[in-house]
Symmetry: C2
Subunit: 350 residues, 2 copies
Amino acid sequence: MTDTIRTKTELSELGEFGLIRRLTENIVLKNDSSLKGVGDDCAVLDFKNKKILVTTDLLTEGVHFNLMYVPLRHLGYKAVTVNLSDVYAMNATPRQITVSIAVSAKMSVEALDELYSGIYMACERYGVDLIGGDTTSSLTGLTISVTAIGEADECDIVYRNGAKNTDLLCVTGDLGGAFMGLQLLERENEVFKVNPKMIPQFTGYDYILERQLKPEARKDIPPLFKELGIKPTSMIDISDGLSSEILHLCTQSNVGCRLYEERLHYDNQTKKMAAELNINPLVAALNGGEDYELLFTIPVSDNDKILNHPDITIIGYITDESEGVNLMTAGAGQLIPLQAQGWNPLKKNI
Amino acid sequence: MTDTIRTKTELSELGEFGLIRRLTENIVLKNDSSLKGVGDDCAVLDFKNKKILVTTDLLTEGVHFNLMYVPLRHLGYKAVTVNLSDVYAMNATPRQITVSIAVSAKMSVEALDELYSGIYMACERYGVDLIGGDTTSSLTGLTISVTAIGEADECDIVYRNGAKNTDLLCVTGDLGGAFMGLQLLERENEVFKVNPKMIPQFTGYDYILERQLKPEARKDIPPLFKELGIKPTSMIDISDGLSSEILHLCTQSNVGCRLYEERLHYDNQTKKMAAELNINPLVAALNGGEDYELLFTIPVSDNDKILNHPDITIIGYITDESEGVNLMTAGAGQLIPLQAQGWNPLKKNI
């Protein structure tokens, strides 16, 4: 039995400063641009002649994550990668993050260690420095706020507003997996709530679970663009769902778009889970969100550079604004206007 | 009666993107360093040859503020100024902020307009640009996360760790006011809970109420240092209370300190409220916090430069580390070791 006993230290034993020290004492700054990290009123950075990219996300318990089935280590990892994804979506390199948390005093120090082990794992994998944050309490659940800071040469930065008529619409990786992973987790959680002795059935679904619980940001794509000699005309990461992101690109670029259902690529596990739950994987791709793949447009003249690249799929093309934003369905080949039915956090808790 | 009817729009009517548009549509970027603000995956900044300062704070309902008596407009204002205070505490100039909020769906759009009117008021007064953020929901109360970004020439930046033996310990403004303002608000709130028909008694206490509800950051101090030809050897802003901040400076600088009770300056309203509530104003100054004044050290040779300056008081001096950090009391003149009894958010909600 002894090996299963886990220490549980109350946060009040450490106090705010003790906790901050514990959570940050092993930080070693990796980037030249990180002059001064945790420990003063501000962090100090130096990007020389580079431009600076800033993005931020706020995650709240019960809305963005459910601690019933999200391990804290994965949550920490994901809180970082979803922010880094926004930096890669500008064709830039993330360098620093700040992490602020508000925790219930009921949470143990060891639980926070778990959360931070995931945060540091992401810092390690993506080469970013944790340079600051705030540690405080909440009357209720856990809240995590992450700000990511990156750098890029001005000429490399890709915005959302540069898509042009006839450009190819491309996406990295496969879609819908994170959403199907979430459906699986929620199903097993419901089963568990009815009968806590039931063992969750996750076999064969490791990929979609990881897509949901521990998503990676497409760190490999900006250097791949360099290698291929491509600069996208517009780019965005897929956090809310393909529909919503395509509409963002089109609205900001004043263009229309035609998306082809038959070009969308799903992992086998996504398809299998979708069949099991009687969900059309198209719905998962369009409206599910959290895939953290990159959606971008390139001039049609760059077609050959990406053709047959295993990580990139051409899923449609940009049209004149007057043609609207439409999905060409597989099979019957109907043209259906795309709607942003992406995740609306403000509707979730009514 | 008609003029008292207030519109109440549900957040779900606008949705996330509609709400973001409403809250950000009037932004005009003021700083040359703000190349791109709200509306893409990241904001884009350019600080040329300046160093970049980053600081962040997370405020949660019930811990940092009580919406029973804190007007939303003031809360928005304060959420910004407390962050800017950290930038001034590095002797730097804030240029941008990001603001993320998690709100209960019960909150109305008009209430958020109020919150943002305070945020924009602070942006206006301090010349900073709102360049990004995240808008989401929480299952319970309101959470606000603000990150401030500033700039400075490397040679101007003041850290916490440069205080030297014999340096003068100085503070701007007066102390303890914010804490006494909070005591007053809490007292009147208790009275109100017992009898909602009672009219709160705030007459004659406008200054300490404003210190608590709508604190200002010491924007004037970095340029004053330039004007006086001073560069502090160390500096910190007073958010947790004078004791805690002095201990930060001394610990990080490896020095001791002697603080003189009789040198501490209180506003008349602070003294009057303290007398009424039978609280020693010294306790408010040492442990109350939220004064957002600047605490700094200067070489004794700079004494003449600040002597008799109405905004700066010399409250003690730096000693060798071996002498410890002590308060010399007024009257009897006892030497008492200072302890950090500042605000501990992690103990508050046990």
